[in-house]
Every structure is written in C-alpha cells, then in structure tokens.
C-alpha cells in the first residue's frame, strides 16, 4: 500500500506549488525536504520568517493537509514506487502512486587558486549563512561569478549593512544589454530588475570581471580580480562566488529518468520518461521562480490525474521558458574562465585532487578510479559541473546511496530478496 497518492521531493517553490495543486484535487500528498523548513533556497527563511509569497504557498499546502517531512534526504529507491530517506535521528521508507521531483538546483562552482580557503563561499552559500544568523554588518564582501543571483545576494547583504565592495559579473556588457531588452517582454521580471538596481545604488557592477585568485593565510584576506587588461586586489572578509546554477538530477538519474543536457527531461505534463514520475522547477532546467511555480502547478495537477487543469497553465509556462532561454544565453560561463585554475589548483575538494591529476586521465571513469575525483562525500556535486566545464566530461551514472548514509540506514532498507 502506498503511503500517499503523490509524493513530492523538494519543498522549494516548485515542490510547494506541486504539492498544493495535487492536494487541491483531493489526492493525499506528502512532501519531503533535506532542509528543516519549507521554501527551498530562494525562500530560505530568515529567523523563521518566510517572505510573503512563500508564506502564502506554505500556508496553502498546510491548509490542504500536505504531510510535511522535514530534514529528510533521499538516498535510495529500494523498490518500485518506494524511496528511502534518512533523517538526523533515523531512516524511513515512503511509498507513492506518483512522484514529483522538485529537487531544485545548486550553484556552479568553478575552481581558481585559493577557492578552497575558509570564507570563500557560494553567492547563495553566504546568503544562506547570513539568513541563518551570520552577522554581515560592516563585513567587506566581494560578490562574483554570474547571473541574477549575484544581484539578489548583493541586495540582501546591503540591506544587512554589509560593505559590499563590488559585484564581478563574468558576462559581457553586450550580453547583459541584450538580456535587458528581453526583460521588457516580462513585466514582472522588469520590476524586479529595476527594484534591484535601485537597491544596489553605490555598488560597482563590473561586467567581464572575475576573480583570478583568493588569498589569505588561514582564511580569506583578499581577492585578486581581473577585468580586461586590469588586475587588482580587493581586501575582503568574504568572497561570495557562484557561476550560475546547475540542476540537481541525482534522484532522477537514480530512478532511471532520462536526462537531457544536464536536466531532467519532461513532456508537456511535466512527466519524466518514467510514467508515474514527474519533475518541475530548476531540476528540469534553470528558469527562475515564476517558471518553477507554474511547472510545479502543472506537475501537481498532472500527477493527481487532473491533466485538463494542468493544460490551462501551458501558455504561462511558455512565456517563462522564453525568459529562461534568454537567461541561459546571457550568463553562460565564458571560455576565459577555463584558464583560471592552475595545474596544482584543487578541483575535487572532498578528495583534494588537483586539476593536473584529473587532466592526466582520459575521462571520468579513469579519474574516479585513479585519483578519487568525485568519489568523496559530495559525490561529485561540486566538482562534477567544474570538470564538465573545464574538460567537457559529462558525469556518469548515479549509484545508490546518492548521499553518504549511515550503515544502519542502509541495512534497514535492503530490497526484498
């Protein structure tokens, strides 16, 4: 017997929208997430207070009796229509009729000398810590990498009285101008962009600029930046650096869902290549909040068998997908960034494997066997995207457990003999 009709993995915008819409149709719905609170990364609450639109969706999911399973990470699919999750204090198995993968995205980290120093973090990484109470008041912060997230993080840091020295955006000015014009077709996005610009007044926003080295003895003290012919050093307490986002596809791959171009492949009903498995949001391709919400709504209706209601949202989804395409085009990482790591720069932070050692291998399999690159606790979640960008290797198949898991959790979820 399944524990629920629809199980949603991931409680960010896509997952919340999916769970709510599925529950509205009368289906029994459960939602699991690795984090202690719903909202995902974008709606990560500061001191338990979710933003207004987040609160509305969270309230709506609660009202429709969506069962919320917090602090639970999926590590295996021990039998058909069942997944195994590990919590801080134990593990459990969950059965479902339909599954919705709303697993979101992570930041793309690209290696450069010094990137492993303490206080060099992701852009979203520093924001997550700040929202969890890390004081940033008066701290000198350099924000670098690529994409709209840099602006959102700068705004948050400035609102919390940080001394944001500059934003280094690797994309060209012309790419951003072309992107800006396309924003005009998306009024909601335009208002967001204008709002951000006002909030960011006084922070230099440098295009075609990126960090070439982070320096410090025991922790970050300064970052050296490059822009065209110019190279200079900024003293700072934190470097918040992320080069866009990459979809989280590990659970989809574990289940055998077809991937396409690094994302979970879905049809018009957000259904994956497996009949009762759906996916929505950043896992199906980076597209931002509005696209994640509408994809989640479609997946929720479809997974609960309400495909006609799903269909009414296709036009809205098409509009946001056009925006996503423009986004991807404007902020694609530039070739020059491949020259940032030196041969001795670490690529794999779990196993401390240098670029030189990885490069001496013929592909992922050999790199894993000979150097342990991608074999540590993060299972290639950090170095995978970097190696793909630097060397063009696509990561291979995923094996359970997809997260480091306690022995007792593994032994209790063995498939039936």
């Amino acid at each position: 017997m399944p524990d629920c009709d629809v199980l949603v993995i991931g409680a960010g915008p896509a997952g919340l929208a999916a769970a709510t819409r599925a529950a509205e149709t009368g289906a029994s719905v459960a939602m699991v997430d690795d984090n202690p609170h719903p909202g995902g990364q974008i709606w990560r609450a500061a001191a338990g207070k979710a933003p207004q639109d987040a609160a509305r969706w969270i309230h709506s999911a609660e009202q429709h009796q969506v069962e919320w399973i917090a602090g639970a990470r999926v590590f295996a699919a021990p039998a058909p229509n069942r997944i195994a999750v590990e919590k801080f204090d134990g593990e459990l198995e969950l059965g479902y009729r339909s599954l919705i993968l709303a697993t979101g995205a992570r930041e793309r980290f690209l290696p450069f000398p010094g990137w492993t120093l303490p206080n060099v973090m992701g852009a979203g990484g520093l924001q997550a810590l700040a929202k969890s109470g890390l004081p940033v008041e008066g701290k000198k912060i350099v924000i670098a990498g690529s994409g709209p997230l840099l602006l959102a993080v700068a705004k948050y840091m400035k609102e919390h009285a940080a001394d944001v020295r500059l934003i280094a955006e690797q994309a060209t000015q012309s790419a951003l101008l072309a992107f800006g014009l396309r924003l005009a077709a998306h009024p909601g996005k335009l208002i967001q962009a204008v709002g951000l610009r006002a909030a960011l007044l006084g922070i230099p926003y440098l295009t075609s600029c990126w960090p070439v080295a982070a320096e410090g003895k025991d922790k970050l003290e300064a970052v050296t930046l490059s822009r065209g012919e110019r190279t200079w050093t900024e003293r700072c307490d934190y470097l918040a650096c992320g080069f866009g986002l990459v979809p989280n596809t590990e659970i989809a791959a574990l289940l055998g869902c077809r991937l396409s171009d690094g994302s979970v492949a879905v049809d018009e009903q957000q259904q994956t290549s497996i009949t009762n498995v759906y996916s929505a949001g950043e896992a199906t391709g980076i597209g931002g909040l509005e696209l994640a919400l509408v994809e989640g709504e479609i997946a929720g209706f479809a997974a609960a068998g309400a495909s006609a209601r799903a269909r009414t949202l296709f036009a809205a989804r098409d509009r946001y997908r056009k925006f996503a395409e423009a986004l991807e085009h404007a902020f694609a990482p530039r070739e020059e960034l491949k020259a940032l790591p030196r041969e001795e720069t670490l690529v794999c932070r779990c196993e401390d494997v240098t670029l030189g050692r990885v490069r001496s291998c013929t592909g992922w399999r050999e790199a894993k066997l000979h150097t342990r690159c991608g074999m540590g606790p993060c299972q290639g979640r950090v170095c995978g995207a970097a190696v793909e960008f630097l060397l063009g290797w696509k990561s291979e198949s995923v094996r359970p457990p997809v997260f480091p898991t306690r022995i007792e959790s593994l032994t209790r979820t063995e498939p039936p003999a």
Binding site: D34, N35, P36, Q41, A45, A47, G48, G71, R73, F88, R106, E107, F109, T116, L117, P118, N119, V120, M121, G122, G124, G125, L126, Q127, A128, L129, S132, G133, L134, P135, D218, K219, N248, R349, C350, E351, D352, G376, P377, C378, R381, V382, P404
Partner: protein, 82 residues
C-alpha cells in the same frame, strides 16, 4: 535575545537565537576551520545548502554532520576540526 539556545562549540559555551544553524553557531564562536581536508587544509562552508559537505562537524559525538542543515538545540555539543 528572545529564547536563546545554549550549546557548546569546541567546549566553549555559546548562546544563539532560535533558528540558528549549527554552521552559524560555529562561525559565531570564532572558528574559521570547520574541518581539515584529506591533505590537512582548513575548510569551511561553501554551498550553505547541504550539498558540498565542507561544513562537516561532529554533533553530540556523531561525526560528519553537515552543520549548515542542522538547527541548533539546547545542550548540543559541537566539535569542529575534529
């Protein structure tokens, strides 16, 4: 501070607001090295969202806990750089 949570980081008592993650408590305690890498380098949080495993610490004797995903609780004993 409303309803502070009392815990210890490397044996030193610290009080943090409710809702604070262990990663933040470790940073607030003045610790910059959360763990040592396999070759002995100092490491600290990178992703802040539970995927990179750089913020691993020991919590109540259990090793390899991702400090960015665990909310602080009263009486917790956290050991960084174990």
């Amino acid at each position: 501070m409303i309803n502070p949570i009392d815990l210890s980081v490397n044996g030193v008592p610290i009080a943090v607001p409710a809702g604070t993650m262990v990663s933040t408590a470790v940073a607030l305690a003045g610790v910059t090295r959360f763990r040592r890498s396999v070759t002995g380098e100092a490491r600290a949080p990178l992703c802040g969202m539970g995927i990179c495993f750089e913020c691993r610490v020991s919590i109540n004797g259990r090793e390899h806990c991702r400090s960015c995903q665990v909310p602080c609780e009263n009486g917790m004993e956290v050991a960084a750089d174990a």
